[in-house]
Symmetry: C2
């Protein structure tokens, strides 16, 4: 049996338009908060994982883990950068978990971040598209919004999802983010304002039909960090350790058009099943989930393929309020990528930070009452590489 | 106790000027050779690690591990890219080791590569320099050759290393590479030709004083791959498993000028000591080593800080022929970075491939006779992040 691994601290740097700091500055802001939260004192950190997708391309900085080890004065810590597109954060947390489970490290810091807002939007769209299939997609001009638009149209046609369902997700996640001080977007929106009123056409214009402005996550700067610890020593630092009960990761056919059913997110299915199996828990046991809603449709699709709803029915649950913060199964209490923001390399780590705070009962106004078990899904590529976690808090 | 981990297969794509293939093509060439060598049959691969430093910057491709999983038809394998500058390969092998040791995976494929020759040399020099300290080094125009030149000058002044010692390393590594079919440079050079004859000034011009042309590794395309396997099942695939006996990794102060003694490679010292301690072996037990000779001086300095020679004495050992292929302690039988080449993300994996072949007695003409234990050192940044391995073969 590998060693049990717990999370003992979490921290975030404010997501948003962070012209005030460099990428390294954002990493440091999140890392120092997580280290403080973990109550490490002078206990040395054994390993550091940094997740960032585009640090080299956007900020002329490679080998960012080495740089951060120096910046945080935690040399001679072992330090690696992990890059897995938008699932970089999940991959980094996974490798941190493995370091401890293998007995190579006792305490591991994971820091994810991205500084995306200093280049023009079309440049960002192109850089993000470098994760698509190089010959079947990228060179033909495919972008993530275009893939998501086609995916949304297929989903609408196949399962009866309507524009209002997508808008309901945006409204919910904006509402949740109002209670998250680290969120990029603090702006209340209403279903009338973005969907049902005549003004909605102006407020919420089409970007890539059928996707509209409020179906898309923003381009964000930001960072997030968590501290993992060997289960057998976690109690030295906190009486509220959060246990990494399940870890799963799966790849899928790279080019979306080559998948037998492009509406099926098989990597979500495979990775979540692995995580649940390892945790000896089921989707029914979860109290809430953080899903990767880079586009509103993804919250619906992932919630189905991860097993929380039957395929083709999640939009009905959304309509019934099931996934609201006060609902039976809250999704994205943090505000999700839609409103917390999506600094690409930070997202998977921010999901784990949110789970940690929630399971410790430290999520303030957005607390999911009595949450003891939770799930996260970090979605790379257009679903070609997904990392899932099941975390739990033993009482 | 974590599970024992073995290496059961290794493969390389020809290093050199590979205009014939894309980066993904090079990955695939090395990976299929390693998979064949591992004799996997239809046993599934559990995880894939890809190491590449500059795939995004040089080839417009991110999330390369997802792309390669698809290309190799090994979906739904868990797949991550690891980037740690020139030590990316070592870091990837380390994380592959952790996956198996933690019980998360049974068989893991590691593929490292880079395609560097399609952009002009000054662009490569700049991209490589993005691993230096962003404010203390990079923005001031520091490059790796300039750091290496200053390091070499200090070393010459402090320890009496002379130009001829550096040239002897180049001559030795070129000679070894002649017997390595995958090496980038197959060109015999002599001490007369590059150092002691009057023509040497022309043949071996100064690039960054005191460094000359033949003190530097070439800019290479290429890839390398290894297959790791849980020790308890390795015998299913080979009767010659190579055991990962020790793994070490350490960071050092990022900016070279800020180190108390810039000639001391503390990350080499720390990481090698960790690897030897874990292996319960010492430098004296090793039969040979693969070191990271991106510049000739580094082979000397690393061989000292890893504990094979007293500090300041390795150049004497070089002079006495100790490190020649037929010598008492061969270094870089593969040809090293100097002559095998240095596709940055491939190098750490290529070192492990060379150790694997040598310890299995499969290194052909360049075989280190009777080698049963060996050491590798993969050097990131200018020594700010180093990954070391001790491998052994039990008889």
């Amino acid at each position: 049996m590998p060693r049990e691994v717990s999370i003992i601290g979490a921290g975030m740097a404010q997501f948003g338009n962070r012209t005030d700091k460099t990428l390294m500055g954002l990493f440091k802001e999140a890392a120092t908060r997580a280290i403080d939260h973990a109550n490490l004192g002078d206990t040395p950190i054994s390993s550091l994982y940094v997740s960032t997708m585009l640090a080299g391309e956007l900020t002329n900085q490679t080998a960012t883990a080495s740089a951060l080890a120096d910046e945080l004065c935690i040399i001679p810590v072992a330090a690696d950068r992990v890059e897995n597109g938008p699932a970089s954060g999940g991959s980094a947390v996974k490798n941190a978990y493995l370091s401890i489970a293998a007995g190579f490290a006792d305490i591991v810091l994971v820091v994810g971040g991205e500084k995306m807002r200093e280049v023009p939007g079309d440049r960002i769209t192109d850089l993000i598209a470098t994760m698509t299939h190089p010959t079947a997609e990228y060179i033909n001009g495919v972008t993530l919004p275009s893939l998501a638009a086609m995916f949304t149209r297929l989903y609408m046609n196949k399962y009866g999802v309507e524009r209002k369902h997508l808008s309901m997700i945006a409204v919910k996640n904006h509402s949740n983010a109002l209670m998250n001080p680290y969120a990029h977007i603090h702006r209340k929106i209403t279903l009338e304002g973005i969907c049902t009123s005549p003004e909605a056409e102006v407020n919420n214009p089409i970007i890539a039909d059928p996707l509209r402005l409020f179906d898309m996550c923003p381009v964000s700067d930001g960072a997030a960090a968590v501290v993992l610890c060997a289960g057998d020593i976690a109690k030295k630092f906190t009486d509220k350790p959060v246990i990494v009960a399940g870890v799963g990761q799966a790849t899928d056919i790279h080019a979306v058009a080559q998948r037998p059913d492009p509406t099926a997110l098989n990597a979500v299915k495979n990775s979540s099943q692995q995580a649940f199996k390892m945790a000896r828990l089921t989707p029914k046991d979860m109290d809430f989930a953080e899903l990767h809603d880079a586009f509103t449709i993804l919250e619906i699709a992932e919630s189905e393929d991860a097993g929380f709803f039957e395929k083709g029915t999640a939009h009905k649950a959304v309509e019934q309020g099931v996934t609201l913060l006060g609902g039976k199964f809250p999704i994205n209490p943090s505000g999700g990528l839609k409103a917390r923001g999506h600094p690409v390399g930070a997202t998977g780590v921010a999901q784990i930070a949110e789970l940690t705070w929630q399971l410790r009962g430290e999520a303030g106004e957005r607390q999911v009452k009595g949450a003891k078990k939770a799930f996260s899904c970090n979605f790379g590529g257009f679903g070609n590489n997904v990392v899932s976690f099941v975390l739990r808090r033993d009482i």
